[in-house]
Symmetry: C2
Subunit: 83 residues, 2 copies
């Protein structure tokens, strides 16, 4: 068994209004910095023991799509590294 | 003026209890995947026009430390790319 580090980045899809991102953008503007297209996303990271990278990838894809994201409004990308 | 894309990753510091990360880990376990050290972080992304990368870097460092993170409990890393 090998230890894998998993990093899942979850973002709102481009067309979806990001209310939190807008609030952050206004705060950044008040700070004097002219930010545009501000978006807020999530990172979920964990470690996992498995025999093969392919096993990790298929498990993590499945759990991300079924459990961690809302496929109507969110998209994700996946990084898997071994140690 | 050049357009820069800024990505700020914000994580709880290693010693800080991550209650949300634990809740996610339990959900992942119920899904049948044995995740460990599950942590939840944030991504804040925006675009910015500036003359030089150094200018962007110092502005974004300052606003991140003063506005976006809680320096007692959170740490961050910064990626700046130009187009």
């Amino acid at each position: 068994m090998k230890k894998y580090r998993v990093k899942i980045e979850i973002r709102l899809k481009p067309g979806i209004l990001d209310a939190e991102g807008r609030a952050i953008e206004k705060a950044i503007e008040r700070f004097g910095v002219n930010a545009q297209n501000t978006r807020k996303g999530k990172i979920i990271e964990f470690e996992l023991y498995a025999k093969e990278r392919e096993e990790v990838e298929s498990q993590v894809k499945s759990l991300t799509e079924k459990l961690l994201i809302n496929p109507l409004t969110e998209e994700y990308n996946l990084k898997i590294s071994d140690e």
